[in-house]
């Protein structure tokens, strides 16, 4: 009699433990799967948002390029000069909070170098401020965004430009 009741108790405890384990496993798999899906969705969402934000910035640069084409090359004489460019870029900087500086460099072939330099009034230089040696093509900067704060270097650079 005592043994029978003991066996019954042990069997009940084992059955309850098995039921608990089964239920735990039954509910655990969907939960893990759902968590994985959520992680994937959140990651993709953030990637897309980052991509969109970057595309917006790229669009801003593209718009500036169109500005140069419209008012520099399509106009004769050109309606754009350094001062105008600087003023416009500065006034629209709110539109590009992630871009710290923009500049425009004109394509010059070697045959046109002398006429270009004569027209601009300055010599094409390297990035080390030395006269550029002869080469097939040149990309001298003719328009640039001024620094936000005045400084001696900026003043000197503007003078050189």
């Amino acid at each position: 009699m005592v043994k029978l009741s003991t066996v019954a108790v042990v069997a009940w405890v084992l059955a309850s433990a098995a039921l608990w384990a089964g239920l735990h496993w039954r509910f655990r798999r969907p939960a893990l799967h759902k968590a994985e899906e959520a992680l994937v969705c959140i990651c993709e969402e953030r990637a897309r948002m980052l991509q969109d934000q970057f595309a917006v910035s790229v669009n801003h640069v593209h718009a500036l390029a169109i500005l140069v084409v419209t008012f520099h090359y399509d106009k004769h004489p050109p309606a754009l000069d350094q001062d105008t460019f600087a003023v416009y870029v500065a006034r629209t900087s709110f539109e590009r909070p992630l871009l710290s500086g923009v500049a425009y460099a004109q394509r010059v072939v070697h045959a046109d170098r002398e006429s270009f330099e004569r027209q601009q009034g300055w010599i094409i230089k390297t990035m080390k401020h030395e006269p550029s040696p002869a080469q097939d093509e040149y990309a001298p900067v003719i328009y640039s965004q001024p620094p936000r704060r005045p400084s001696p270097t900026s003043r000197k650079r503007r003078g050189e430009s």
Binding site: C41, I42, E44, E45, R48, M49, D52, V56, N59, H60, H62, A63, I66, L67, V69, T70, F71, D74, K75, A79, L80, T84, V87, Y88, R91, T92, F94, E95
Partner: protein
Amino acid sequence: MDEMSCGGGGGGARWKRARVAGMGEGKAGGGGGAAFLGLERVGMVVRMLPVPEKVSARARVVRGSLVAHFRGWRVVRETWWWVLLLWILAGSLGSFYLFLFMNAQSLDKRRDSLASMCDERARMLQDQFNVSMNHLQALAILVSTFHHSKTPSAIDQMTFARYAERTAFERPLTSGVAYAVRVTHGEREQFERQQGWAIKKMYSSSNKKQSSPGPGPGDAAVAEIREPAEEYAPVIFAQDAYKHVISFDMLSGNEDRDNILRARKSGKGVLTAPFKLLNNRLGVILTYTVYKYELPAYARPHERIQAAIGYLGGIFDIQALVEKLLKQLASQESIMVNVYDTTNESPISMYGDDTGSGMCHVSVLNFGDPSRKHEMHCRFEKKPPWPWLAITSSFGTLVIALLTGHIFQATVHRIAKVEDDFHKMSELKKRAEDADVAKSQFLATVSHEIRTPMNGVLGMLQMLMDTDLDTTQQDYVRTAQASGKALVSLINEVLDQAKIESGKLELETVPFDLRTVCDDILSLFCGKAQEKGLELAVYVSDQVPQILIGDPGRIRQIITNLVGNSIKFTERGHIYLTVHVVEEVMSCLEVETGIQNTNTLSGYPVANRRCSWESIRLFNRELHSSEKSFAPIASDSISLVISVEDTGVGIPFEAQSRVFTPFMQVGPSIARIHGGTGIGLSISKCLVGLMKGEIGFASKPHVGSTFTFTAVLMRAHCKGNDIKSSEFKGINALVVDHRPVRAKVTKYHLQRLGVKTELTAELNQFISKLNSGSLTAKLVLIDKETWLKESHCTPLLVNKLRNNDKPDSPKLFLLGSSASSPKGGSDTSREHNLNVIMKPLRASMLQVSLRRALGGVDKVHCRNGVVGNSTLGSLLHKKQIIVVDDNIVNLKVAAGALKKYGAEVTCADSGKKAITLLKPPHNFDACFMDIQMPEMDGFEATRRIRVMERDLNERIERGEAPPECASIQRWRTPILAMTADVIQATHEECLKSEMDGYVSKPFEGEQLYSEVARFFQNHDQVE
């Protein structure tokens, strides 16, 4: 014929009469013993009567307690249903509240989720919208930089249109942009001449619905010319898709006018109300102001109005914006989004047409224009799922509560059942206890009722044996008497067993003399011992105090049981009863080991006494340590070791473990031979336990058994009756016996009488002392066995004693027993006219024998060999004795016994009659008074008799005595109590009532003589 028979077979005739007399004496002694046990139970019965009252009181207490407890539990049983109901109700409410709580939690979580998603979408919508506004503002700056700041202007319609088209990718949600310049009335003619077209009026005055720049107003051909006004805002630049709006005055439209005025005043972008676009989608017009120069942030409105030079406007597609946004968030849970313009009381739907019900969250939108309000309404597309967690949790709680209630109900039900069973069991227990008490009372009553007639039967049989009967009749009478005694013994034992089983056996605590108790036991068994030719002896150590405090009746019962068993199972040899003190026994254990087994009372080997003591040696050690720890208290307690040694058949080894089991017989053959109830040892074991002792035994088959038990008693601090009389003081005695153990026993009894005793083992030593004249003993006791062994010396000794007629010649006694040859004994006694003292030795009969020998020479001769009877007859001859008893049978028994000794007996059947008969003056010499009598017991009657005697004695002293009493100086009639109760308490009661002694019923010759002699001898001396 008679003479011839006496002369021819004189020896045979004497032998036959002596044997018959001896057997009669034995029977009488046995009967007395049985009477002792039987009468003792009467006292037990009387004392036991109050016990039922105690049991009744205890039962009453238990019953009261049960009733109180049951009443308390009844209250619990009546209220537990309410408790269960409350519990179930509480459980249900608890689970319901749990469900509500968890459901509310899930709802809150769902609402929070909706709110967070809605807010997220609102924030993203705002950001996207602000980005588009920035683009429009940048375009305004472009116009300001290249149109108004340059002279000539760098922008014309074609340039503006081309640039707007090429940068349209940057503004996917803005479908069209246009620029209107500010013109005052004074500048109108010059402006119109320069532009080449006239400023036109928008179509708002005739049809409000056409106030927007739709296809209607766009038709320049049918438009009216703007009437003169203070200020104008004609469109000069426009995207190609909207070229038809060029030349229209924006100030001529109501909404456009409001927009322009608010824009130039605030300097910020402003929105119009939503309106339908060309593609049937809703949109708003966003307006920015272009100033002549850059104004600081803190510029005042009138300053801004003065600086205004133009207005840039763009059409903004809200639906596209919202759809783009929702596409980005498609991965999240789907919610339905509605966007409303809530600037006015009735909201204008800007996106979505959902009108469903359910949970809804509202997020406020901020598009940068403080004068307009927008909201986003969100709701879940799907219905909320079932709150399974809340459901399962609450259901589980409910199940647990119900299960707990079930457990509670089952527990209460079981408790109630157990309580009822307990109540029933209590009733049954009380009934069983009452039945047990009734059984005990019944046993006590029946035993008592049986004992009284049995005493009569035994007495009558004893009297019948004393009449002239033939051999057959004597055999029948003897058998009947033995059967009667066995029956009385059985009744006593059954009664004791019942008392032990019920736990109602109580020990008495009274002073008693253990030596007297042992002598009584010898008297009880001397008859049976003589029949079997056994040596029966008792020895009590000198270290045992004379007076002890305990229960003499129970000690007597235990020893009687052990000696009775020994006599039953012993056919030859001896039975030796010894009493020692525990310390004495322990110190002698080592010495005892060396003693040879053959050095015994009768010469037969016995079971080793040490083995019998070893079984309780542990107890002795414990007792010893106990005494050490409780030395101050335990100094009054004394432990005795009592042994009964026999040379019987012994106990088989396989039966030794069951010796103390009730109704256990060693074997059927022994039971058939000896009979017996078989519960004596069990009772003895229980009695020893009550006395804080232990009982054990050592036994060898065909050698013998030795039973030993211990008992704890108290020392008495008062002097008891000292039976040592001064008459034997200064007298020396010599004991001649070749067996040291037996000689020691004889010395023990002589020392009790105050006689100094010397021992010698050979008769020659006595003769040599006699010849040399160095013998100082006046008494010489020679064992008959030693006498017969050295029979060659006896004639010389007798001649020497006869020749010496000196006054100081010693008195010679033979210590005889039935173990000796009857023929030899008779010849010796007859031949030499020597005094013979029959064993077993007892102080009382030894005293009588010695006194008679020393008293006078003419009484030395004994007749028919029975010393006691002859002396008692001489004492009671022609004495007037009155016997008082309410029982007629007892009266006859007592009268018969006394008449047998020559007394003249008068009977009285009540105390009153006794008082009448004993009124002085009377002729009675003694009175035997029964104690238990109705109406007036023996004590009361005796007190009244003593009062009358005292009154008469006082009158005698005053000289007023009647003439009949002149010859007597003082009246004092000896009154002896006749009682079946021999306990010490009864004895003390007799003395207190001024009784002079007591005898037990039925009468025993020895005790009767010892009591009567004290009075009649003194009386004779006085006379």
